[in-house]
Symmetry: C2
Subunit: 473 residues, 2 copies
């Protein structure tokens, strides 16, 4: 009998949570399944409890009446072998070991135990997710590991060696309006590994965009092959952990996986068409651009909304990121002159809003830029804290006809100077949230600084350029 594939495991009809509890991690998994409305059967398992969250709690796997598709193991490492044996008898398809303290500790006996778990699982045809990981996140199927995690499905997939990175990314993504199809926190990956997860998401129709956090790769050749095929179809954003000597040391402590030379890695990623990022902020910056924006294949940017020096710095930062801040095309200047706009000979790109008086209609100039074929994308500024007083989000947004500006990639810099002690009533915070919500509704990605917006735009454009070149070869 061939062993089950990820496809066969991803839509379990029944899940047993071994180590279920009324508090802590044992409660989190159960309440997450309930919260996300998991449609299958949930079997809590714990010898100490009769009942958990109003459901019957079983003393062991063997006591459960029906079939079990997926077992989530929250018990300690010392009990793991016994669980595998019980699952073998019960005909379980897959065990996800949240259970940790295996190879990641670097201790010989823990490494040996991990190997023995795999041996016994293999001989019983049981697949393993983990150990030392959070497991599957699949909101549309009702699977998650924390009741606070978003229940809203979306087109983004993730693969993360680290559970904390996965959790942090999902939470931050939700704040930015980005939602997930399926995701995997995979930890030590003794059975299913990053190659399997990537291959699965590559073929998954619900996933349009993939983000990865990896520290080490087990099978470099296979990984690069799958990666190359995947990036022809959808963007893959990869954050590599363990890039330096200290990071390598830390990954050794964290997951005991091999971290190779960064030079080799970077070349391989470039050739494979993957998008490399260096921290979680950048990962989501770039993801937001792909998630919300239409493609662009050239880097001529129109910038508007800053004032004075702010425009100058914005232009510098955009150019240093790799955008081309082209001059204002002559036809726009001619049109402004025709309209007797008093700044026709003075205004440039970036459009400095401090010179563009109300009667000069700044938003109108920005719209002309968007409609001009010389520009490939736009970056505009919205500055809720800029005037020292709180104005309504409608007023702040009224400078720009956002719907008209969306015919090309449009990135908003929603300048945030930080959470101010002056905002005692939370009005500024509320306004930021209002504007963010409106931008998300309009599918416009927002960034807190020009540098971050420009970087995301460049990485997006470079991906589409390479993809098109590869496809037309």
């Amino acid at each position: 009998m061939p062993e089950p594939t990820l496809e066969e495991i991803m839509q379990p009809e029944s899940i047993a949570v071994v180590g279920a509890s009324k508090i802590g991690i044992g409660a989190n998994y159960i309440s997450a399944l309930l919260k996300l409305n998991f449609k299958g059967k949930i079997y809590p398992v714990h010898p100490k409890y009769q009942e958990v969250f109003g459901m019957k709690c079983y003393a062991g796997i063997y006591d459960i009446p029906g079939n079990i598709d997926l077992v989530i193991s929250l018990i300690s490492a010392t009990q793991a072998l016994k669980l595998v044996d019980d699952c073998a008898q019960k005909g379980v398809k897959c065990i996800h070991f949240y259970t940790a303290r295996f190879a990641e500790t670097g201790r010989p006996e823990a490494i040996e135990l991990e190997k023995e778990i795999l041996r016994r699982a293999k001989s019983a045809g049981i697949r393993i997710i983990g150990p030392n990981c959070m497991g599957i996140y699949y909101p549309a199927w009702g699977i998650s590991w924390e009741p606070t995690m978003s229940a809203i499905p979306g087109p983004m997939g993730f693969i993360s060696q680290s559970g904390s990175v996965a959790y942090e990314t999902i939470g931050t993504a939700e704040i930015r309006g980005l939602h997930y199809s399926k995701g995997f926190s995979y930890g030590n990956a003794i059975d299913f590994n990053e190659c399997d997860y990537l291959e699965y998401l590559s073929q998954d129709a619900e996933t349009k965009l993939i983000t990865m956090y990896v520290e080490g790769i087990r099978d470099g050749k296979r990984f690069l092959e799958i990666l190359r095929k995947t990036t022809m179809k959808k963007p893959v954003i990869i954050l590599k952990g363990g890039r330096g000597k200290s990071g390598t040391r830390a990954t050794a402590s964290h997951t005991a996986s091999l971290a190779g030379s960064m030079e080799v890695w970077n070349t391989a990623m470039k050739q494979a068409g993957a998008i490399s990022v260096s921290d979680l902020e950048e990962l989501l910056d770039v993801a937001a651009a792909f998630y919300f924006l239409p493609p662009a294949f050239r880097n001529h940017v129109g910038i508007a909304g800053g004032g004075g020096g702010g425009s100058v710095i914005a232009a510098d930062v955009c150019e240093e990121a790799g955008l081309d801040v082209i001059p204002l095309p002559d036809e726009i200047r001619a049109e402004l002159r025709k309209q007797n706009n008093p700044i026709w000979d003075w205004v440039t790109n970036p459009v400095d809003f401090s010179i563009a008086l109300k009667d000069a209609v700044s938003g109108y100039i920005t719209k002309m830029m968007v409609n001009n074929p010389n520009f490939d994308l736009s970056i505009i500024f919205i500055d809720p804290q800029g005037h020292g007083k709180v104005t309504s989000s409608d007023v702040l947004l009224s400078d720009f006809p956002l719907d008209d500006l969306k015919i090309k990639p449009l990135l908003v810099v929603l300048l945030d100077r930080g959470r101010s002690f002056k905002d005692t009533a939370g009005e500024t915070n509320k306004q930021f949230i209002e504007i963010s919500t409106k931008l998300i509704e309009k599918r416009i990605p927002a960034y807190i600084s020009v540098a971050r917006a420009a970087n995301a735009a460049v990485k997006m454009i470079n991906y589409y350029k390479k993809q098109r070149a590869d496809l037309t070869q």
Copy 2:
């Protein structure tokens, strides 16, 4: 009679605001002086008003009974020459021209007008600040240009070619707990220029740290000489606007000053010991490190507070910024073993808080790192959004004995994933503000990401290293 110096101008006993008004910019300057409790005489001037803010309003400069030390001109460019003539008759020491639309427009007649203003002022012994700028900010003397600007004095000085950059920087600095001695928004600088302002702040005992925003430099040789002397005494952080081709074009529009080759500029800055930054965020990141921290001369960093992959990424980012994330010294490991700490053989630097269980006393390990002479500085994480629920700021801070950790430079990464729509009641926002306030009180700089904290630390250390090397030569 020699012309007045900046020293002689900086503490005016009387200020006439020409173009005073009840609303708009004419009101801002007056209400700023009132708000900051300017001790000298304020003379509002406007032919249309009898009274402004309860003060007598004069029809013209010539109507004012007493002496006038400083005139702030808010009138239009077309009236500027007449004002200079009036001021000459009245014996005014200095005019600050907020008035704009001169050389920055690029228009020949505007450039000529600017020159004529300078000629007439020179012949009357009047000094000029600007035109096209916000002028002096000197909270301890009660001078500001916006009533919303901080009244709290501090040891930081600024010099900014751009008024909007100055305003934005001051507002953001206040949020971060950074306050100013004196500052200048200097615009087109037809008389006093960046050299004069820098020389003044260099010699100013109230100023311990200088930030600059410059687009072009008029007298490169003099500027570099003053800069070199200044950096031997105090750090100078410089943001150069107009670094690329587009930026150069934008500066041409904005202030019509010369922007040179960036290669030459970067070399000159390095030799002069100035600290170069590329945007406002970075400028204040670095300023906060100098403002709050004791010096460090080596880059061995101890990192603590992140979990799993977060620690790995933190180590990578710190190393890429130029910090040395050294391994945990043997003596710390030996001490942990002696205490039967269960993670003695496993914990490393960064200290992964997800493995450091409560009984392993994470804060204690961090304190051991700080007390160990191998470490020169520490970076710790505080993550208010990390647990999906709001805990009190005391609980969040309780992981770390902050006062004990402050014996070396300590930078906090107060991770901010963004303003979340889930924070409808503003509780998370409030908590961020509470923690920020506590950190400011303890004089600990906070950063929203590891990358930004690490970068600030590296720039600070490099400055002190060079300064010490230069002084001991």
